[in-house]
């Protein structure tokens, strides 16, 4: 589904990703682990299409298509979803209005008809319930006054509503206590599906106790320096990044 080859990405002229190669098939959950500054967030942003992240070499193919050629909104409509590390607060737009606008924007780009307000409301309510998101939260301005846990839950709610084919979770565990982490992980696990690929980006092994990946890639200084099964996470936790990064060098 996703095939990244020799990807080089520069931000403000500085190379952050230096030849990253990675492929994920439908139904798989991959994790990317790495220390601060290794390029984890850069990878998530370049996949979602943020401006200012320039691909200087290599390619990203998504279902055979050149992902880099698509605007962020077109990627979303084609099923790419990035659960962000820092969801933005937008005063003046209610969460419900945002969800409806986003869902129908995606549908329109796919040539589907708009969902009526009532249908959207029904869909959102049903999904919100399992994530413990209240009616009151949906009426509030998007992410304004939400706790860290509420923001992350809202990201997962969006994932449940938009039903992406490729979900990228950028540090979804950051800032969460153990109960919030469990709730979010359960939400993610419920969305594991043979037709869906997930890329879980995290600094800590903790999240991977709950969202167990099929494969782990260790990112350091813009490159994948180690790969393995879920046991790699435990090794990292025990020995630290220095050890593995040092070995690879």
């Amino acid at each position: 589904m996703l095939e990244i080859k020799n990807l080089h990405v520069a931000v403000d002229g500085k190379e952050i990703l230096k030849g990253l190669t990675l492929s994920i098939e439908a139904g798989e959950v991959h994790a990317i682990m790495g220390p601060n500054g290794s390029g984890k967030s850069t990878l998530s942003y370049v996949l979602a299409g943020r401006a200012g992240y320039d691909i200087t070499e290599g390619s990203i193919r998504y279902n055979g298509e050149d992902l880099a050629a698509l605007a962020p909104e077109a990627r979303a409509a084609k099923g790419v979803f990035l659960a962000m590390q820092y969801p933005v607060e937008i005063p003046g737009v209610t969460t419900m209005t945002f969800l409806k606008t986003a869902l129908n924007s995606q549908r329109r780009q796919r040539g589907e008809s708009d969902l009526e307000a009532v249908a959207v409301l029904k869909l959102v309510r049903a999904k919100a319930k399992t994530l413990n998101i209240s009616e009151e939260m949906l009426k509030r301005a998007l992410n304004v006054g939400f706790s860290g846990g509420e923001k992350k839950r809202l990201e997962i709610l969006q994932m449940a509503i938009f039903e992406p084919k490729l979900a990228i979770l950028d540090e979804t565990d950051s800032g969460l206590d153990i109960d919030a982490l469990r709730l979010v992980a359960e939400g993610v696990n419920a969305l594991r599906d043979p037709s869906r690929a997930m890329l879980v980006i995290t600094h800590y092994q903790r999240l991977l106790d709950y969202i167990v990946p099929d494969r782990i890639h260790v990112l350091a200084k813009g490159r994948i320096v180690a790969e393995g099964g879920k046991e790699l996470a435990l090794e990292l936790e025990a020995k630290g990044y220095e050890h593995i990064v040092g070995q690879a060098a």
Partner: protein
């Protein structure tokens, strides 16, 4: 008002106009709105502009100022002496206008619709007697040049909601000065939506004259091309325990210019006054300009005054977030601009007027985003 009194007031106003001349950019209050330059050779003229009342709600008394023999309430409140040049000009250079009275204790449910049209100068007076309440919807028609001098008197415990929507008006030069006096416990809520013209200026002088008097002002403007919109306010807390708030939001694209000058004066002895002033602008292009100037002048003790101004661009993080959720760029920009303006818009209590202003706003944003 006898004819002689009227002539006296006109003569005094004419003297003010003569002494000061047409305001220009070297006068501090007119720094961002050079009226003299846009009027050029034509100057102020001496034509009387027109007014139009769509529906006179039952219970509101009206008097045409061009008629002889004004009633006592007109004579009492009309044409107070002023040093404001344009307000003086609206009296000295016009031969009419309109006056309204809402009698003591009358709560008028239907809004009063008042439109100003055509070129020239015109006067208006609105008197709310003690305990009265009214909603005033002011319409602003396009004209080469029009100057409106408005006097509003709000009695003890009376309440006025004033909504003024000024549609985009190409080459028009539109100037208005409103002078509002609010007695104890009186409330004035005013909302302005402006879409700009060659030169548009709404100037408000508000005097909070008794304990519990309140003034709440809000405004939005969306300006494109070479449009200009200036809101200049001066709120004077003359008495203690008075409250004022101001919230103005501007969006300017192209080579447009948004101006907010707001001065709050807390007079000596007006202890316990409470005032807050916020002005924000988003600029959508290199050549757009916003001049936001909140100002405080405090001569009293134990007052609570806050003010802030900020000029910025659309937030890149927010824009990316919306696009990454599938919302196309132009729509995402429109949504963010609307969100930016919404809190100022939400201040309009009259539902119909709020919707009307919102629709105008959305149309203007679609064009600009």
């Amino acid at each position: 008002m006898t004819l002689a009194l009227n002539l006296d007031r006109k003569a005094a106003a004419a003297a003010v106009v003569h002494a000061h001349g047409v305001p220009h950019r070297r006068i501090e209050e007119w720094k961002y709105s050079d009226l003299k330059a846009v009027l050029g050779e034509k100057g102020l003229g001496a034509v009387t502009a027109e007014w139009l009342v769509g529906n006179l709600p039952t219970g509101v008394e009206m008097f045409d100022l061009s008629e002889p023999h004004p009633p006592a309430w007109v004579a009492t409140h009309f044409a107070r002496a002023t040093q404001n040049v344009m307000s003086a000009a609206s009296l000295a250079l016009s031969a009419g206008g309109v006056a309204f009275r809402v009698p003591k204790g009358a709560k008028i449910a239907d809004p009063l619709k008042l439109d100003f049209t055509g070129p020239g100068h015109v006067r208006a007076l609105l008197v709310l007697e003690d305990g009265a309440s009214l909603t005033l919807l002011e319409g602003v028609g396009a004209a080469d040049f029009r100057n409106v001098g408005f006097e509003i008197v709000i009695g003890t415990g009376a309440s006025l909601e004033h909504v003024r929507i000024s549609p985009e008006a190409g080459d028009a030069v539109l100037v208005e000065e409103a002078h509002v006096r609010i007695a104890a416990g009186g409330r004035y809520r005013a909302h302005f939506a402006g879409f700009g013209s060659k030169l548009s200026r709404m100037e408000l002088e508000i005097e909070l004259d008794g304990a519990g008097a309140q003034a709440h002002l809000s405004g939005v403007s969306v300006l494109d091309g070479k449009r200009h919109s200036d809101v200049t306010t001066h709120v004077i807390h003359r008495h203690g325990d008075t409250t004022s708030s101001q919230l103005f939001k501007h969006v300017a694209g192209g080579q447009a210019r948004a101006v907010y000058q707001g001065k709050v004066t807390v007079a000596k002895g007006a202890d316990g006054s409470d005032s807050v002033q916020t002005a924000k602008a988003l600029l959508l292009g290199e050549s757009a300009e916003a001049d936001l100037k909140p100002e405080l002048e405090i001569f009293a003790d134990d007052v609570k005054c806050a003010h802030g101004a900020a000029v910025g661009d659309l937030d890149a993080d927010s824009l990316f977030y919306l696009r990454a959720r599938g919302i196309p760029e132009a729509e995402a920009r429109g949504l963010l601009l609307h969100a930016f303006l919404e809190d100022a818009l939400a201040e309009i209590a009259n539902t119909d007027q709020r919707e009307l202003a919102r629709n105008e706003l959305l149309a203007a944003l679609r064009a600009i985003a």
